[in-house]
């Protein structure tokens, strides 16, 4: 899609044991692949970074002006108890220019609004849809628990420094360096894209966008940004959170095996794959892409069904790495135990020990 066009670099790292480490790794790995970006956008998602507020929805917001800030805060106050509100700390001395107002809020849903967990999540989603869709100049960057997205216009490495990521500790990080070809950079349009604890960094241009978008519309998702990342995020939200599919199944939906591959499968698997294509054909993501999806339970990397975009993975002990280029991994892990190129459509799944999904 327009906003995502181009090369782009992706990086993801996690410690499956749950040990937390600083955002510096992700910053230097993505900076290593600077060739793949053009300075019009970079960003990070960190998981496990707000242990003090781990039961709160952490909203990262960007405002174009104070009026937007006021309207948004009014909206939040109406619906949530705000445990804490503060500007997101940034470093002043960087190359980053004209940052918008950046705030974060730690929120709990007022009981009058929703009391069950799924209900709360749906409520949060509707809040995000509302702010992003209706409040001019305000944009929710992330809205999950114990996680946050940091992104903006600039080279990814500089964005990492700007947001002082080395000062955060998380068990999983994803990073993105953008190379949009024909749009002016906009902070909200940078990656990762997030909804609840989902975050998506994406390299590609999906040709099934129209189909995916209209499919998602059936379920109330409004694709306001016209971006692939948005669509992929919602697809994950629908398939994983709402339908409860595991990532292997999601892989077989988003990057469905070809019919002749399906025909070669044993019968029970064949039936499943066929049923998935029948039911979720409109969720098939077509065209070139490599995507790393982060969520509370870990990170997942996936490629399109004919692998038109690069993705390489590596392991070292409990550490799992994914990157557009091996150089990104070598930058932070000189001698991995194993380095491999995932097959087209084969998800690489990093699971937080003890987590579900």
């Amino acid at each position: 899609m327009e906003v995502d066009r181009g090369g782009c670099s992706l990086f993801g790292v996690m410690d499956e044991s749950g040990k937390r480490f600083s955002g510096a790794q992700a910053t230097s790995a993505i900076a290593k692949m600077q060739d793949r970006e053009n300075g019009l956008g970079g960003g990070f998602a960190g998981y496990g970074i707000y242990p003090r507020f781990k039961n709160c929805y952490a909203f990262h917001l960007l405002y174009d002006n104070e009026k937007a800030e006021e309207s948004t805060e009014r909206c939040l106050e109406e619906n949530y108890s705000i445990e804490k509100a503060e500007p997101i700390p940034t470093r002043k001395k960087t190359t980053i220019e004209n940052p918008p107002l950046l705030w974060r809020y730690f929120l709990t849903v007022k009981e009058t609004k929703a009391n069950s967990e799924p209900g709360q999540e749906d409520f949060v989603v509707s809040t995000v849809m509302k702010i992003n869709g209706e409040i001019d100049g305000a944009f929710v960057i992330s809205s999950g628990k114990n996680m946050g997205i940091f992104k903006g216009v600039g080279f990814a490495g500089e964005i990492g420094k700007f947001f002082r990521l080395e000062e955060y500790k998380g068990y999983a990080w994803t990073a993105h360096g953008r190379f949009p070809t024909n749009t002016v950079g906009w902070w909200g349009g940078a990656h990762p894209f997030g909804l609840l604890d989902w975050s998506v960094v994406h390299n590609g241009e999906i040709s099934s966008y129209g189909t995916n978008k209209r499919y998602l519309e059936n379920f109330g998702y409004r694709c306001a940004l016209f971006t692939d990342t948005e669509v992929i995020t919602y697809l994950f939200d629908l398939l994983a959170r709402k339908y409860g599919f595991g990532f292997d199944v999601i892989g077989r939906i988003l990057a469905a095996p070809f019919w002749d591959e399906i025909e070669r499968l044993p019968e029970s698997q064949r039936e499943i794959c066929k049923a998935l294509r029948l039911a979720y054909g409109s969720a098939l993501v077509n065209g070139p892409f490599a995507t790393i999806v982060g969520h509370t339970g870990g990170i997942v990397g996936i490629n399109d069904r004919i692998k038109l975009r690069p993705l390489v993975a590596a392991r070292k002990g409990s550490m799992l790495y994914m990157s557009s280029e091996e150089s990104g991994i070598r930058e932070v892990c000189q001698s991995p135990d194993k380095v491999w190129m995932p097959e087209a459509g084969e998800p690489v799944v990093g699971r937080l020990e003890g987590a579900h999904g």
């Binding site: 999906i206 040709s207 966008y209 189909t211 519309e217 059936n218 499943i272 029948l278 039911a279 409109s282």
Partner: protein, 505 residues
Amino acid sequence: MVKSTPPFGFTIDRDDEKCIRCQACVRMCSNDVHAYDAEKDVIVSDSTKCVGCHFCEAICPTSSLTVERTQSQYRENFNWTAEVINDIKSQAGSGGVILTGMGCDKPYTNYWDRIVLNASQVTNPSIDPLREPMELRTFIGRKPDRVEIDSSGEPKLATEISPQLELETPIMFSAMSYGSISYNASLALARAASDFGTFWNTGEGGLHKDFYKYGPRTIVQVASGRFGVTREYLNTGAAIEIKVGQGAKPGIGGHLPGEKVTESISETRMIPIGTDALSPAPHHDIYSIEDLRQLIYALKEATRYKKPVGVKIAAVHNVAPISSGIVRAGADFIVIDGVRGGTGAAPKVIRDNVGIPIEIAAAVVDSRLREEGIRNQASLIVAGGFRRSSDVVKAIALGADAVYIATSALVAMGCTICQKCYTGKCNWGIATQDPYLTKRLNPEIATRRLKNLLRAWSLEIKEMMGGMGINAIESLRGNREQLRGVGLSEVELEMLGIKHVGEAW
């Protein structure tokens, strides 16, 4: 008064230098246009009898014949065109309804010609269909709302999947009854569909016993006349289509004249030889949507829920809500036949004035079903004047699951759309039961040509999909972002749900 008959429309131009008097034209023309004058050793042609089917042109070994359109000229008049004047003269003579064949030929906007497709450039790669797999496989039938997988132990599918038709290309042959077309034409459709992995449709004339072996690739129709409908017939087909309406003649029944009811047709239709086969305008057991639901379920019961049951309607003003009703009545697929859909015989006034174009109908039905969250409950098949593979691609991008072609299939078999199907004198051996004419259609050749057409269109569809960077037809389906309108008004764009050319995503 002087007999005022409409002037004829064609002239036969014979290059006498090239004519070798072989008399192939004389022997072949079912309209007796050509005659050999032995005394003068020349062949003379009576243009007044010519219907413009071009068979003689095709058969002439020296290409000495050209069938040319000539119209005796009246004074120019935007309103009182030659067609209008001739129709009036003809009716003043006959006192009857003007019959015609094939689909509406009036110049209503053809939106396919006003829609262009997208292609990948630079930022994402187009896919070469000759090197990479490119999937056109299409399933017709109700899709599950959700797939459940039983993961206790070896993962197993826990959702029951409704019966589906599996197509290797999203193109099927639309309903043409044995009776309206010849045995050989039917046979060719059946064989081509079977060989290619798609489906053909019996139309309302029943299924000849010889064709039962093609049952697994046959959609059997249940129309208002109920011709040839038996339990065996229903169970032989792969799917059942309740025909409510037809694009060429919405709201009108069918009429196969007794002369065409030969022994074999009478057997297939289960009516006496030589009697007119009349299909009533409505189904007399369907006066409401509840009645339709009963019929759908009666047919499902009769086939033990093993076959998809669909409903075909003509595209009319209310097509979207009607479609929604049909889906809610339990149809597994819905067929919309647009105004350009063909027929063997229809009153000209109906053919040319009733119904709406399929492009708009396809778009509004797809949107409506999505809005109501029931799009997955039935497949959407669209029909009515699909002329080329790009029309198919555009229809699928608008939201159709598959298209039906019929006129194109007939053209592949030789038809030149002379619109005289109703006369039963089709020189190409298609729309006739005259054994002297039907043998002209060698079903082997016709099968080959139909398969070639399917193959060619499928290849082109793959090329277009590849150009868009799409390698599975699912990702084209409903992908209106790949479409742009050219020179269409706001309201047309809105109906079609597409943007205008020049607009990016």
